[in-house]
Symmetry: C2
Subunit: 461 residues, 2 copies
């Protein structure tokens, strides 16, 4: 519990009703989308940057941990207040400050929900492409802090590719502004890029300038059924070599297909190793031409069947299988640990083979799906948290998956972040020098270690 | 002059013939593509990373400044050894280590010439898009250290967008490896991004992994003549709003056109404010369709004349005017100061108007050309270095251009870097907090300030 005088200082900054320390409030800010939780000592909900700065000045003076959070949809424990302190709830800072149509840039506060931002810019004929599956729930600040991806990032890039600048509050309350409305900028170090993906450990992102593009006029979808997964992987390479950049290339393996069928009975084939869902966009002509070339490449590389949607409606039907993955997994077992490993694209077949071996070794169902064009796979370990013995196997299986990814030249996370879940593994992934350099940067910007302590970097002893 | 024992240590590391301190050697490494120069105390030319590490260990122990350099084509003084010390010549480290066709990634040493890298990957059917004008001369390491751009970066992005990972030697000789062959990676801070554009002040880049793409099958070019520059700017906005992303959109203003005509007599119109050169690519069909839509948009927005090349040959002819700019400027006056300001796209007409006013005020010819789609303009101040009075006006005009760019929400540099030329202005551009944060990072990674000291960041007193 924080001392009364500190609570008093915080109330003066944000107003008495936005500083809460009753147990029922604390519980609401103790968790994210993992199965971990820990109570903060107080929940503070500022409405503007000056208030965030004030809160940080208090935290700095009294050395209180601060964990910034949006809607708590993180998948790596990054927004859980593992050391108590202040849960800094940014969801009241949800205003879209400006849509600059001419320069195609939106400026918004960190707490705006991603889907709301997308809707607002769509209303003036512009398009914000990053589409994390959590988009109806997660916030812009969280997306930036974790550098969130999504299926459409194959063609359009991840969240970080759209950040043109930001406002962030530093550990001692100073307000940092980076970047701006220029496409190119090589003046000094890329602080915008450094803060993207830093998971609240270097500063609290309060505002961002995001690049927008013109919306595609048409979208086309295809589903390709591959008896052998290795051939699906070859087809993906051939598509990219041909200069085609589909909006999305999603893969579902046999375990995933079986899990969907058990739940939804959609008539998906149960005797194949992989299904790809592919999407193109552009003007009508381009979208159609590209999906047809892609379908042809799939047929030439071992696809048993390729269905090309004739219109958007049919396309949505084909994509339904992919969208059904997460709800179907939830039906099969009470809990899941969704991994997020990324390997060089060519290593996908080997990575899938190793996950299947791990699934057998630890006797756990592990459906694999994800963004095959990026090499970003989500093996989901299914289990029952109440079975302690099983849960111990889950931890071992997760570690074995990490090891396999690293062994194949991959990384622990492609779009979810490190948080608490993967921090003990990052040195094995990045090597000691990179971790030392990161520690150095962290210590220089947050000397009292109050910004989301215990996240991203492993403890140093 | 360095002490004999230090030279001896360096000779042990790289071999006696690769440590030179005769005046004729020092003069060769004293300059870049600006009009500044300063002699190093010794030139050291390593052939591999281990040697660079050895050199840095010596420099660290004895606190000797180290300026890494490739071919010295920098435009901001970044590779000039302003404090003497070691000129670390990386041009012997010019090997392409691997072209991974399946994953579409090339790994190369820092000293490879950009055009050689492009040729090597083209030979196996791949494409490396960044195209700084210096590409036949400048090296990969320098391109990364300055985050070089080029005309084609409108569609394809700048050098930094292609760096998937790197190897760099830190101030004390430790070897840092960042990134890898995965498209997505959110494990820890983005050190790759931090080193991109850091101009040798955080470490010596020795190797890099660069992303490649499939080459476009066709390119189409058009030239649009605009009596009024403001209408050219509107046309650019309309093109982008229509969802078209040309490979390049280059602008030349009336002063530039007149300068080319005086030199080349190409028959360009002398009674217009701006000419745009536009390029599209893709498959034949896409390139043609897009250039025709672009031509139409130009006609609808005030272009007096639009010539669309019917094939690649004609396209090269149209582009010839743009390629003639630099040689033509050199004919008009003995010296030039090529600026590199970038403004939000919508501010281009106002920026051009202000440069023209500055040109009149200081009585100096300032042709303006550059990458209008990016908002990146190169006003080139023409002068004679021998005329001291004129040179004083050049400095004032350059400062006035910086002020105007900042005033319009722009930045000092879009693709050349800060070096020594702009470092005294960056605090005005970025604000004190951003500069303090950069200093903090610099001090944490280079506590003895031996890595390219006196560059990028302004002196702190």
């Amino acid at each position: 519990m924080l001392e009364k005088n500190i609570l008093q200082e915080l109330r003066k900054i944000v107003g008495p009703s936005w500083v809460r320390d009753e147990p029922e409030d604390l519980y609401c800010y103790a968790y994210d989308a993992t199965f971990h939780e820990n109570l903060p000592e107080v929940v503070v909900s500022p409405q503007q940057t000056a208030e965030v700065s004030g809160v940080m000045q208090v935290a700095y003076r009294h050395e209180i941990p601060v964990v910034a959070r949006g809607m708590g949809s993180g998948l790596a424990g990054g927004s859980i207040p593992t050391q108590g302190g202040i849960a800094l709830n940014l969801t009241r800072m949800n205003r879209i400050l400006e849509i600059d149509r001419g320069n195609m840039i939106v400026t918004a506060q960190a707490g705006v929900v991603t889907a709301d931002l997308q809707t607002a810019v769509a209303q003036v004929g512009l398009f914000y492409p990053p589409d994390p599956s959590s988009q109806r729930q997660s916030t812009l600040g969280g997306n930036i802090a974790c550098n969130a991806g999504g299926p459409h990032c194959l063609k359009y890039g991840v969240t970080g590719d759209y950040v043109m600048g930001m406002e962030a509050v530093l550990a001692d309350g100073r307000i940092l502004r980076t970047g701006g409305k220029t496409i190119k900028n090589v003046v000094g170090y890329d602080l915008t890029g450094l803060f993207v993906g830093s998971e609240g450990t270097l500063g609290v992102i309060t505002e961002a300038l995001m690049r927008l593009i013109a919306p595609p006029q048409a979208i086309r979808t295809a589903m390709a059924v591959f008896p052998r997964l290795v051939e699906a992987s070859v087809a993906v390479t051939r598509i990219l070599e041909a200069g085609l950049v589909p909006v999305a290339m999603e893969i579902m393996d046999d375990t995933t297909i079986a899990t969907i069928e058990a739940h939804k009975n959609m008539g998906l084939p149960l005797d194949v190793e992989a299904i790809l869902i592919l999407e193109t966009d552009g003007d009508e002509d381009q979208a159609v031409r590209e999906i047809e070339r892609i379908a042809q490449i799939c047929r030439e590389n071992g696809a048993r069947e390729v269905r090309v949607a004739e219109d958007r409606e049919q396309g949505i039907q084909l994509m339904l299988a992919r969208k059904s993955v997460s709800p179907s997994l939830a039906r099969r077992r009470p809990n899941k640990l969704g991994e997020d490993i990324t390997v060089p694209r060519q290593a996908i077949p080997e990575m899938v083979a190793r996950v299947k071996e791990i699934s057998r070794r630890f006797n756990l169902p592990i459906p694999i799906f994800g963004h095959i064009g990026d090499g970003n796979l989500h093996p989901n370990i299914l289990f029952d948290r109440k079975d302690e013995q099983e849960f111990a196997r889950v931890q071992q299986a997760a570690e074995a998956i990490f090891e396999a990814a690293i062994d194949l030249g991959g990384v622990l996370s492609g779009e979810h972040g490190v948080g608490t879940l993967k921090r003990d593994y990052i040195e094995r992934n990045l090597g000691p020098v990179a971790v030392e350099v990161m520690r150095c940067i962290k210590a220089s910007l947050d000397p009292k270690n109050i910004l989301n302590p215990g996240k991203v970097l492993p403890s140093s002893n």
